[in-house]
């Protein structure tokens, strides 16, 4: 909502500067986004009177105008077609700063010689003054403007651009803002006069109004003005409308818009001659009805949309837009003026359905007061008589089936303190509410007030609303900050969150970079993580109104986001990339909200160890990723096992399933399937890791203490040869099954010429230790021998 300060001053003599007023409004809830100033830079531009206009001696289209601007007469060259004797114009003297729309720069006016004649100044167009884009001719000022007056005094203004919150439709008006400023500054508001002369013809004789749907139309007021003359509205009105962003059309339409901006009540004017039935019926639209609106678009109305009809057909969509057929035209001679009040939900619904939002619907949607309609109707009727002539019929129509009774609201001094935390005395509360137009009553000397909201406010329903009114006028800066003193609720750590954040930290410790990618994705992306381009996992949840096709589904996997990030970064990163994300995936469930499971996914590509003067470069390998998985298990205190994976996303034979202690698969890792690598345009030997964190135990990791072992450990190395198909896990299980074995470490794995074909050699270091005595050599030798023979019996192992 744009508020020109000159216009505002018609209703309130504010004593503060526009900047201070803006600050007050902002602090009290009506945010001023910006202040536009007009005319601040009009130095050396004054009102000039054109004394004489003669042809230019050397040009057909230029003329010489002599201008008096308070001092001596100055003759200038002028090319504008509308310059003539005796008009008042904005005159720029030498040294004035003007706006050049072509170069978009300011220029300082210098004496100029045009075709042999020197100009010591210039008559300006609106564009040169920066008022509008109009450059068809020079600007013509009111005749009563005294020559020599600085133009800034005459036309300079500040325009406040306000952001009105949805609860304050009354502030979508100049008078509404004047009322706010009145409460904030103490200056009084004076409203314009609504008095006009009525003719002897009763309005009922010429028009009747019926509200067929009183649940959707609360009030309908109308006046009738005959014998008017449609013409452009006066310059000042057109200028104000333009400043507020509304295009001037003709005097009648402009007046309805002007009063809407003034009071916040939308009005509509019908060409009375087009309402041939002499009847207005407000009702819901019938199936199949259409109307061509003022913007010349035919609209199909849905059943129940509220319409203004002439008894037969719709002539306007109530509260949204009028019909083209009954619009005011140059030949209109009688005007039926409407000021009504409609159900806000209904208007909002209709405007959304038709995708047709107007200044009127904006106000009705926000539930303007039912009491403003007759006030605004009178004001508009008076302005029409004043500016377009004609006679107003006697009386106005006012159909108001269910009048809203004003209910007083009780506010106690104690309640103000209970909510605001500061003491405000009853007199102050009373004064604040009075300044906002509330009727206040303080019965029986109790520290409480009964307050009736002013008729223009629809947002005050209970004591909490009154508390806010008091707080915002007294000023939020009067609230003294205080730390919370109430009882501290008991708290328990959420194991799910603690474990998840622990994993995040561990991965960072392992050198991985965290990323955060969008939860929304496309079907193509989800299919790209399958080598066959088919969807892996459940059908994703679909959006009804996606912003773009790339954000149509809720992701069921983190991998598309990670692989896309990997691919994007490979374009400019030479170094290795190790990325992870811990976020939710969204899985449908029947009869309940979807599952939003925490997932971990990571991708790896490039060199694990970069080329360095001390180290040779090494690419990522399966066991690098496994090391990270084992570290995660270690840090979160969970037991996991591994088995060969058949997951379609992994390179066959080069991936593992991660199995928890109850045998449930909780994740996978390994080399990415080459088809998927191709889908995402990433390097072939990249690796991925995925763990479903929702399958981790929901308990905090338990830490156990063991007393330090005081007895020395004995170390024995052992190299065995087994068939290739014997797994390390099988050997480990046998060795660790022996008591006194305290540790097992594989330190070499060999296949090649030194061992028979189809076999491999494994070298282990076994640690023996007892917790209650020092082991003897023979004791250790005996177990060591037993281990070797058991490996021989069960796995066919031989010593190397």
């Amino acid at each position: 909502m744009k508020i020109p300060v000159r216009w505002l001053r018609e209703y309130i003599d504010i004593t503060v500067s526009p900047r201070e007023a803006a600050q007050m409004l902002t602090m009290s809830g009506t945010e001023v986004g910006s202040i536009d100033t007009i005319g601040n830079n009009w130095k050396n531009i004054v009102v000039g009177k054109v004394i004489e206009v003669v042809p230019h001696p050397d040009s057909d289209h230029l003329r010489l105008a002599t201008v008096n601007s308070g001092g001596e007469n100055i003759t200038v060259v002028c090319g504008a077609p509308n310059v003539k004797k005796d008009i008042k114009v904005p005159f720029a003297r030498v040294g004035a700063v003007l706006y050049d729309a072509d170069t978009k720069k300011s220029i300082v006016l210098k004496p100029a010689k045009i075709r042999g004649v020197v100009s010591q100044g210039m008559i300006c167009s609106e564009r040169e003054l920066g008022i509008s884009d109009n450059h068809t001719g020079i600007m013509i000022l009111p005749d009563d403007a005294p020559a020599g007056t600085p133009l800034q005094e005459l036309l300079g203004d500040s325009i406040l651009d306000l952001e009105i919150t949805p609860n304050r439709p009354d502030c979508l008006s100049i008078i509404g803002i004047a009322r706010e400023l009145s409460a904030l500054t103490g200056c009084t508001v004076h409203l314009p006069s609504h008095k006009y002369k009525e003719s002897s013809t009763l309005i009922e004789k010429n028009i009747s109004v019926e509200i067929a749907d009183p649940d959707l139309c609360y009030r309908y007021c109308a006046s009738l003005i005959t014998n008017i003359k449609v013409a452009p509205s006066p310059e000042w009105m057109q200028q104000r409308l333009s400043q507020c962003g509304i295009n001037p059309i003709n005097n009648i339409v402009d007046i309805t818009n002007y009063v809407m901006l003034e009071y916040g009540q939308p009005l509509h004017s019908f060409d009375y001659s087009k309402i041939t039935t002499k009847k207005i019926v407000v009702r819901g639209a019938k199936q199949g009805e259409t109307i061509t609106t003022l913007d010349d678009i035919q609209r199909n109305l849905q059943e129940g949309m509220l319409t203004i009809t002439d008894g037969n057909k719709p002539v306007a969509i109530a509260g949204v837009m009028g019909g083209l057929e009954s619009e005011i035209t140059a030949v209109t001679s009688s005007v039926l003026l409407e000021a009504a009040n409609f159900n806000s939900s209904s208007i909002r619904h209709t405007a959304n359905q038709l995708n047709l939002h107007s200044e009127a619907s904006l106000r009705f949607e926000r539930r303007i007061s039912r009491e403003i309609a007759p006030v605004a109707l009178q004001r508009a009727t008076q302005l029409i008589l004043e500016l377009a002539g004609g006679e107003a019929a006697r009386d106005t129509l006012d159909i108001y089936p269910k009048k809203v009774e004003k209910v007083p609201i009780l506010l106690s001094v104690a309640e103000v303190k209970r909510i605001l935390g500061i003491e405000i005395d009853i007199k102050k509360i009373n004064d604040v509410l009075n300044s906002l137009g509330f009727e206040c009553e303080n019965k029986d000397f109790l520290p409480q007030i009964w307050a009736i909201p002013p008729y223009w406010r629809t947002d005050i329903n209970d004591a909490a609303d009154l508390v806010e009114e008091v707080a915002r006028i007294v000023g939020y800066d009067k609230i003294i900050p205080k730390m919370l003193g109430s009882a501290l609720p008991s708290q328990q750590l959420t194991p799910r969150i603690v474990n998840r954040e622990n994993i995040r930290d561990t991965l960072v410790g392992c050198g991985l970079q965290e990323i955060i990618s969008h939860s929304l994705t496309s079907m193509k992306m989800l299919q790209n993580i399958s080598p066959q381009h088919n969807l892996i996992g459940p059908e994703p949840i679909h959006l009804l109104n996606p912003m773009t096709s790339a954000e149509e589904y809720l992701r069921t996997s983190l991998l598309p986001g990670l692989l896309t990030t990997l691919s994007n970064n490979q374009r400019h990163e030479d170094d290795e990339l190790k990325l992870f994300e811990i976020s939710r995936v969204y899985l449908p469930r029947t009869g309940a909200l979807p599952d939003e499971n925490d997932m971990l996914a990571a991708v790896f590509s490039g060199a694990r160890i970069k080329k360095h003067w001390l180290i040779d470069e090494k690419p990522f390998g399966f066991f690098d990723i496994k090391g990270i998985v084992e570290t995660l298990a270690n840090r979160t205190g969970i037991t996991i096992n591994f088995q060969n994976s058949t997951d379609a996303r992994l390179y066959p034979g080069r991936g593992a399933d991660i199995i928890n202690s109850s045998g449930v698969k909780i994740g996978i890792f390994g080399e990415i399937h080459p088809h998927i690598a191709k889908n995402f345009d990433i390097e072939l030997t990249s690796y991925l890791l995925e763990i479903d964190l929702s399958r981790l135990p929901c308990v905090l990791p338990e830490k156990k203490y063991h007393a330090l072992n005081r007895y020395p450990a004995v170390i024995r190395d052992m190299a065995i040869i087994v068939d290739n198909n014997i797994s390390a896990a099988e050997i480990k299980e046998i060795v660790l099954g022996f008591s006194l074995v305290n540790g097992l470490k594989l330190f070499d794995l060999y296949t090649g010429k030194q061992v028979p074909e189809g076999k491999k050699s494994l070298a282990y270091r076994i640690t023996y230790q007892s917790s209650n005595h020092t082991l003897t050599d023979s004791e250790v030798n005996k177990i060591h021998q037993k281990i070797i023979s058991k490996l021989g019996e069960q796995l066919g192992a031989t010593l190397r």
């Binding site: 602090m27 945010e31 910006s34 919150t165 949805p166 609860n167 806000s344 939900s345 909002r348 209970r418 909510i419 605001l420 935390g421 500061i422 004591a463 508390v467 806010e468 707080a471 915002r472 939020y476 800066d477 609230i479 003294i480 900050p481 205080k482 730390m483 919370l484 003193g485 501290l488 609720p489 969150i497 954040e501 960072v508 410790g509 970079q513 990323i515 955060i516 990618s517 969008h518 929304l520 679909h542 959006l543 009804l544 109104n545 996606p546 912003m547 809720l554 970064n569 400019h572 190790k578 990325l579 992870f580 939710r584 969204y586 009869g591 309940a592 909200l593 979807p594 939003e596 360095h612």
Partner: protein
Amino acid sequence: METQLQSLREDALASLEAITNMESLNEWRVQYLGRKSSLNQILRSLKELPPDERQKNGALANQIKNLLKNKLQEKTGQIEELTLKDSLKQQTLDVTLPGKPIDIGRLHPLTQTIREICNIFGSMGFETIEGPEIEQDYYNFEALNIPEDHPARDMFATMWTDYRVGDDPNNLLLRTHTSPMQIRIMEKRRPPIRVIVPGRVYRYEASDATHESMFHQIEGLAVSENITLAELKGTLFEFASRLFGSNRKARFRCDYFPFVEPGVEMAIECIVCNGAGCSLCHNTGWIEILGGGMVHPNVLKRVGYDPAVYSGFAFGMGIERIPMLKYGIEDIRLFCGNDMRFLRQF
């Protein structure tokens, strides 16, 4: 024999003098003090001498032996010292060569910010909880005092899913704010309540430098007896001072959110111009950080709390905005863009 011993002593001391390294010193030790040395032979031949000769020469020989031993020790020390000095001179490292790289990853700047904010509120007694992103209309709007067709719904352009639950006639939506968790937590617990809720939220909005269809918020809620606007101000001013520094001024102004009354917007003094006015703060000198207010009595009633007994405050803030302000990041899309050149800076 005596002259033989004396000349032996002279020889030994003279040759020791010339020695500068360990090898030669070792040879010298073998020559003069070894088992086959002339001194040792003399000592062994002493028993063949008459007793008085034996005693006189024996004393002299032992004296010479001790002298040589002492000199040997002394020389050993000198040579060791010299060698060390030498080696200290030779082994000068080029300390400007690059060290062995240690791989350390980083948390995403938003994770860092969320943790920082949760820690600040955690120290004021707020427990971190989380909630669903795919929500019911009831929690996202209805229970928060925003019924269907309420104009405040324009503040929350919503994305809807094709998903329905049970006999709820409304489709599920992507939560437009973290505020639904106010209702969920109050339904589940009784006062006193003090929680914060970080998480993703969604808006039906075209993305540009300051808008994304997905972003992060943190919601705060405290409900108890005797909670006032003064405590909201105290809590949030303390938060602002810890996050932006104690010198940065903060202010409260009136604002409107349907689920609070009175409503509040908190701003801090502009980080770029320190209040003088610049393009970042649209010449106001202030930057909006969060919205909040006293929990609306209708909301309390909705969850079965008596608004005459309990009061509380709630607030919510966008998370991306915080690092954008702190580090002067001009484009919100960088956060989900995950360019390593961006992420590495945090």
